[in-house]
């Protein structure tokens, strides 16, 4: 077990709490940098998607996991980002300005959706964001002069200051850099007063308000940041897919995103990336195991959805803290070995119900 002897407040403020963090995250970063060498082209593409979904997951995690506002229409922000990127690059803008436009427009749409969210909570907010998702999908399909309608739209390879990023490796590094920047940004927010305000709103709006937190401002801000990250992810997604059409941003995609953060572990930054890993790798695993399954099962339609559904149910029932929660338990088991006892993580139920002033 590691005991940290704290001698300065900075130790609680720093991102890396001890040398172990520096070592392991350094190793992870090194592996990520080396992966174009280590992985073949197919798996590198999958890893790129993990990074892209990780960025989107960060956004949704900030909104749902840290501010407690659920969005069942998050694919819409992804779509806004992807289409803005497509339209901007087709108009001749280079990659970075177009990316800023995509992120900015998504954030603006996020503010627009966040405004009604100030008045509605819980399941009603879910329904509102769900219908917003439908609206955006419909707009993308019908506004043919800009979006190309159901025929979709093609994206060129990103153009960085005159250099065209044609190779898969180049684009992978682009995604890696943006993913690292987004993660650091979210971590910074979370350790600052802004992030604490988000968590306060999640846990008790009434006392957040009495602590001087402007609910409307912070809820809208959370929506904006979340949408901006989804837009950023969407723009990268568009470039990676090279072709986008409205049905890629349907409600199914939104549910995938939600599934991703729940499986990853609500309320943890790790969870966003673990969830993305899960979301990308699971279909691959299913198709790999298909070969060894009898035809009756392997060729059955909806096998993937079935497995997805079962996994989600299993997580909600047995591991509500998701993959990250499971990892914490494994880590603790290893740290205290051989002193782990059953029920170490059994939480006491608190029976005091507070009748909250709403």
């Amino acid at each position: 077990m590691r005991f940290i002897f704290k001698t300065h407040y900075n130790q609680d403020i720093q991102l890396a709490k001890h040398s172990g963090h520096v070592f392991w995250y350094g190793l992870l970063l090194l592996l990520l940098v080396l992966s174009p060498v280590l992985l073949d082209e197919y798996w590198l593409a999958q890893l790129t998607f993990v990074l892209i979904y990780g960025i989107v997951g960060l956004g949704l995690m900030l909104l749902a996991g840290f501010t407690g506002l659920f969005s069942i229409g998050h694919a819409a922000f992804l779509g806004v980002g992807a289409y803005t990127q497509a339209v901007c690059t087709q108009a001749g803008m280079s990659f970075v300005p177009a990316l800023i436009c995509a992120t900015g427009l998504s954030a603006a749409v996020g503010v627009l959706v966040g405004l009604p969210a100030l008045r509605i909570k819980g399941i009603y907010l879910g329904i509102a964001t769900l219908s917003f998702g439908f609206i955006v999908e419909e707009v993308l399909a019908r506004w043919e002069s800009v979006t190309g309608g159901n025929a979709g739209i093609h994206l060129k390879a990103p153009n960085l200051w005159g250099h065209t990023v044609n190779s898969a490796e180049g684009f992978y590094f682009l995604c890696l850099v943006l993913a690292v920047i987004s993660t650091l940004g979210v971590l910074n927010l979370l350790r600052s007063p802004t992030g604490r305000a988000f968590v306060a709103i999640r846990d008790s709006e009434i006392s957040a308000q009495s602590m001087g937190i402007h609910l409307a401002y912070y809820k809208t801000l959370s929506f904006a940041v979340s949408a901006a990250l989804a837009g950023l992810g969407g723009a990268l997604y568009g470039h990676k897919m090279q072709f986008i059409s409205p049905d890629q941003f349907s409600v199914l995609q939104s549910i995938d995103l939600l599934l991703m953060i729940v499986v990853g572990g609500l309320g943890s930054v790790h969870g966003a990336f673990l969830g993305a890993l899960f979301l990308i790798v699971l279909p691959q695993l299913i198709s790999l195991t298909k070969d060894s399954l009898p035809d009756a099962i392997a060729l059955a339609p909806g096998l993937q959805s079935l497995v997805y559904g079962l996994v989600l149910i299993a997580f909600v029932l047995f591991e509500p803290m998701g993959l990250y929660g499971r990892w914490l338990k494994v880590r603790t088991y290893l740290q205290v070995f051989p002193f782990y006892r059953r029920g170490l993580f059994k939480r006491q139920k608190t029976f005091q119900k507070s009748e909250r002033v709403r």
Partner: protein, 270 residues
């Protein structure tokens, strides 16, 4: 009066046909412990919620005589109360359950943040400095209220008595001028109540914070209060020192019923 901190003028609130609070007038003086007592449903917590702007009064208003000058509280949004220097605790603890005690206290420093969103996003040196200052302040409060052992514990796992103290600590972290305590001793045992009384005195005398509280435990009330306001059914019954109010005939009547009420039950003894 120059030493008045908070003044309620004809404060009334009506929920449908219920007059929860009816034309209540009182003033809280700088540096005192002012207690509201009364039977259940007397409107004490409603008065609290009026002051912290969770409810809007249907009639009347509240004025705040703080360092900012005279402010009409009823025209201010709820989140600006902490900015003015009014902090509160809740009858049913409202802590941020999934955060550590320290984080709860740091949220109390929220109103003192000088840095904006973009600075926070980049975690500039200014943010780092202010985080350190917040932490130093929170540590002072931790020391005052003996919370060192629970500093890094999640609130969700803490016993009720400790949560009460954490809530008090969080309110203190806002550096308030006026502290509203909603039943600080409910759910505490005798020993914890004595600690609470001690801290309330400490906060009042050493930090110079004015305290307005709702309390049922008359032992605690008489230990710490300078003045007591008794309410029943939304109206003021009596105002004065703890002993005066306790022996006030209308207060006794509100709690125990009047002598006439039971007269017909008496046995006719010769």
């Amino acid at each position: 009066m120059s030493d008045t901190l908070l003044q309620a003028h004809d404060l009334s609130v009506q929920f449908g046909g219920v007059r929860a609070v009816h034309e209540v007038n009182f003033d809280v003086r700088q540096g005192e412990v002012f207690t509201l007592i009364g039977p259940n449903g007397a409107g004490k917590t409603t008065v609290f919620n009026l002051i912290s702007r969770i409810y809007n009064p249907t009639h009347g208003h509240i004025t705040w005589h703080g360092p900012q000058g005279v402010v009409n509280l009823t025209q201010r949004p709820p989140h600006s109360m902490a900015q003015l220097g009014i902090a509160r605790t809740f009858q049913n603890i409202e802590l941020f359950e999934h955060a550590s005690v320290l984080q709860n206290l740091l949220i109390g420093r929220h109103v003192h943040q000088q840095t904006g969103f973009w600075q926070n996003l980049l975690f500039t040196p200014a943010v780092r400095r202010s985080e350190r200052a917040f932490r130093a302040y929170a540590e002072q409060v931790i020391e005052l209220l003996d919370l060192q052992h629970h500093r890094d514990a999640l609130v969700a796992g803490l016993p009720y008595g400790v949560r009460k103290v954490v809530e008090l600590a969080r309110a203190l972290c806002t550096d308030p001028k006026l502290l509203l305590l909603d039943e600080p001793s409910s759910g505490l045992n005798t020993e914890e109540t004595d600690d609470m009384a001690f801290w309330i005195r400490d906060i009042q005398q050493e930090l110079g914070v004015t305290i307005l509280m709702v309390e049922h435990d008359m032992r605690l009330v008489s230990m710490v209060s300078d003045r007591v306001l008794a309410m029943n059914q939304g109206q003021v019954l009596a105002l004065g020192s703890p002993s005066e109010v306790q022996s006030h005939p209308r207060v006794v009547e509100a709690y125990l019923g009047s002598a006439d009420d039971v007269s017909h039950l008496r046995r006719n003894t010769p």
